[in-house]
């Protein structure tokens, strides 16, 4: 029983169905109706510091490539191995970026240093006078709403069922406290395993089991330009983005993250702020995003931004997702809290969860992701 039909729930359902498990996916809304439908579909290794999240991302990068090569999905995923280019404006920033790249290479990341005079070979429209950059050919992109829908469709072909517009209101437990199923607004369903893939709302689902899991919304805006001829070839972002992502501050943070799309519009991010689930448009954020983007691509000054959208990343205080069984509620597992990396990390998450469900030893050590790590008195 998977709660949540976003990218993570879809990937978990797909791997589990492929392993022969009987799967039901529930969502109170629609497929990809939450954070999945509000992102850019980035599959990044470049923005991750060495450690458990990077290991998860590297595993996921391989699995995404396998999924993209699966004839079942063909080009429908809009998978594009476009590569990422991280640029630094100043020599200090470049030194920090190079130091990070050196560490990342030791973990298996492909990272190519790009001197200033070679930046324009990769990106002809990029601003002159930057210090330099690093190119990450493993960075890729999918259309996330399509990807979630396609994986769920294929899981259904393998026997899974999908129940949208179905809200889980409680978990059923037996005398020993083990989770035995879910109560929904459309009836009670029994399940041997209940998986919390509710993303930004994962803390609420954990709470149904009395389990503390402090997933908080971290808001981000994306500006969408008018359709353009191919102006930007890769995913291009400023080196300070990595520090923004790693920050725990609730205050507004922004750094340029820019990419062209197959359809023509350029997507401009990224902002991060913790303001609850406030969906109000922010002119301040939109201006900041536009200004930062023009600093990197001066040609964008002549381009019209047509619209913006926003979403809420599922943020956990240590920036790592919760993946694995919950010892506080046997039968309950979590796969949520991937912050802004959920699309990228989804296949690895689904693969590892399925290994647990089928009694196999997971390919990665899940200790850093254990869901009970935020209990008071638990070592972080």
């Amino acid at each position: 029983m998977v709660i949540g039909a976003g990218m993570t729930g879809a990937a978990c359902a797909w791997y589990a169905a492929r392993a022969g498990l009987r799967v039901a996916v529930l969502d109170r809304g629609a497929v990809a109706g939450g954070t999945t439908g509000a992102g850019e579909g980035n599959l990044l290794v470049s923005d991750k510091e060495p450690g458990p999240e990077l290991d998860l991302a590297l595993l996921s990068t391989r699995l995404w490539r396998e999924i993209a090569e699966d004839a079942e999905f063909g080009s429908q995923l809009e998978y594009e191995a476009k590569g990422g280019l991280v640029v630094a404006a100043k020599p200090e920033g470049l030194a920090a970026l190079e130091a990070l790249a050196t560490e990342q290479r030791r973990s298996g990341v492909v990272a190519e240093s790009v001197p200033e005079n070679a930046l324009s070979e990769l990106e002809p429209q990029i601003a002159r006078g930057l210090a330099g950059g690093v190119y990450y050919p493993q960075d890729a992109q999918v259309q996330p709403a399509r990807a979630a829908a396609l994986l769920i469709r294929d899981a259904r072909r393998r026997g899974a069922t999908l129940h949208t517009g179905t809200t889980v209101t409680a978990l059923t437990r037996d005398a020993s406290g083990a989770v035995t199923g879910v109560v929904t607004d459309r009836g009670t369903v029994r399940a041997s395993w209940v998986l919390n893939a509710a993303g930004t709302w994962g803390g609420d689902v954990a709470q149904l089991a009395g389990a503390h899991l402090p997933v908080m919304p971290r808001r981000g805006f994306v500006l969408v330009t008018e359709p353009l001829p191919r102006l930007i070839r890769h995913k291009v972002y400023a080196a300070d983005y990595v520090a923004n992502v790693a920050s725990g501050s609730a205050a507004l943070q922004s750094s340029a993250v820019i990419e062209g799309t197959a359809a023509g519009p350029v997507l401009i991010g990224a902002s991060r702020e913790r303001v609850g689930f406030d969906r109000t448009f922010s002119l301040e954020v939109a201006r900041l995003l536009a200004r930062r983007a023009i600093e990197l691509f001066p040609a964008l000054a002549q381009v019209k931004a047509m619209r913006s959208y926003l979403g809420f990343r599922p943020y956990l205080p240590d920036h790592l997702p919760a993946i694995g069984p919950d010892p506080r509620a046997p039968g309950l597992l979590h796969a949520c809290g991937h912050e802004g990396a959920g699309i990228g990390l989804a296949p690895a998450t689904g693969h590892l969860i399925t290994q647990i469900l089928t009694g196999k030893s997971p390919d990665l050590d899940l200790t850093p992701f254990r869901p009970e790590r935020f209990e008071t008195g638990s070592p972080a």
Partner: protein, 102 residues
């Protein structure tokens, strides 16, 4: 008499003026959007899609879907359903992203 929105609300528009669509003069009323002017003249498509060059016009009509993009006075990607017509506007069919082949 044929009913139309003007007679329904007994509107008395202040001004009528002309715009052009691909060079052809069209009558417009003050306050009409570009889309309203084009529809009034029986024109329902004024853009071709980027990949297959298929015809497009108004879909949502309320500035949400960006299907009705059009070039006005040389500036591409204007939402026809939102932009008011002004005297002398030169409206032209937008091909693809409207930026030509750069």
């Amino acid at each position: 008499m044929k009913r139309n929105p003007l007679t329904l609300v007994a509107a008395r528009p202040e001004l009528s003026f002309q715009v052009t669509f691909d060079g052809t003069p069209l009558d417009a009323l003050s306050g009409q959007t570009i889309a309203a002017v084009l529809w009034s003249a029986g024109i329902t498509a004024w853009r071709t899609t980027r990949v297959d060059a298929r015809p497009r016009g108004v879909f949502c009509g309320i500035g949400v879907c960006f299907d009705c993009l059009v070039t006005v006075n040389g500036v591409p990607n204007q939402s026809a359903c939102l932009v008011p017509a002004r005297p002398g506007d030169a409206i032209t069919t937008q091909r693809g992203d409207g930026h030509g082949s750069v």
